[in-house]
Point group: C2
């Protein structure tokens, strides 16, 4: 027996294409599903096939929305503050910020981040539509919530340069120690930021 | 926006049902697939749907085989030694032993392991068909290759008790230090086994 039966090997190969899933994990998942007597494999297959068919991107902010809906739930919600826009990299970041429960503005999803190494420039992310939104609507503040990485920081700086001339104030998320973190184990950069951005306790 | 659009949430839920995949990993996979422009989701869905349709179990040894084939590749291979049977828990163990390249006998896959806590007794694993194989065919040795766990050890002992009266010699895989391991970090049980089973260097 030189190899696994083709249907099993095909599933292992398909799982291995997912990020963070190596051949060993993929094999474990495949053998689990082979043994499983429930509908786990069927449910996963259905969800995979429905994913793209049933979703699309919001025409205004590029967040995920249900297929056939021009605007996402946030953009369609008239109770939310239109004068405040939070710019994020990915739709998953919208969910993270929504979970805080303290942001009542709208979003703009870049669907990417500037990365010259990977050939991703301003044309490859949803930047132009952000500038158009700012020109058309009376936005008072843009909060930049890109990731605290090299690419996220570069993107934030670039955005700030492009947005400032429009007379819109630009802010970004605070850097510092994560809640529940340990100063002893905080990395040097985070601690430098926490010191430089220290807040008055008065 | 209280929650993710349903198609995305459904996929996250489906991924979360897999062993070792928590909600965060599931979300990461779902957002990866949402952004992916290739056919990764489609390929995975196809492989999942084909898995059960295109595979079945060998009638003799219960290893995986292609649907419509009564015997698996090993059982159908007349060049392999019929007098030697290696008993394993799962089809994935067959692949592991085949990879060593030094076993030329046949297999018997129990499709499980004795586990009184989970209600798995001798009737729930493929034990009866093993005893029948041993009675019908001239088998000289059974190598028990269950996992070196509590359940695997209990299963090995039980198998030995049932097989010995048939006049078939029973052996099991050696215990000891794994190749490339470090004595300093070997656990107590492994080191005890390695000492007790020390091999003469003559």
């Amino acid at each position: 027996m030189k190899a696994l039966p083709l249907p099993v090997q095909s599933l292992i190969d398909a799982f291995s294409r997912l990020p963070g899933i190596g051949p060993k994990t993929a094999a474990r998942l495949a053998f689990y599903l082979l043994k499983d007597e429930g509908d786990t494999a069927q449910a996963l297959a259905d969800a995979l096939l429905n994913l793209k068919a049933d979703t699309s991107y919001c025409e205004q902010c590029h967040n995920i929305t249900l297929a056939g809906q021009a605007l996402c739930e946030v953009c369609a919600d008239t109770r939310r503050d239109e004068h405040l826009i939070c710019v994020v990299e990915e739709p998953s970041d919208v969910i993270a910020i929504e979970r805080t429960g303290i942001f009542n503005g709208k979003y703009h999803v870049l669907l990417g981040v500037l990365s010259p190494i990977e050939g991703i420039g301003p044309e490859q992310i949803k930047l132009q539509s952000l500038l158009e939104r700012l020109q058309k609507n009376a936005v008072s503040e843009v909060i930049i919530a890109t990731n605290p990485t090299m690419e996220g920081d570069a993107t934030a700086l670039y955005l700030q340069k492009r947005i400032a001339p429009l007379g819109v104030s630009v802010s970004r998320l605070a850097r510092g120690l994560p809640v529940g973190g340990d100063i002893e184990y905080a990395d040097q950069n985070t601690l430098q930021r926490a010191l430089a951005g220290r807040q008055s306790m008065e």
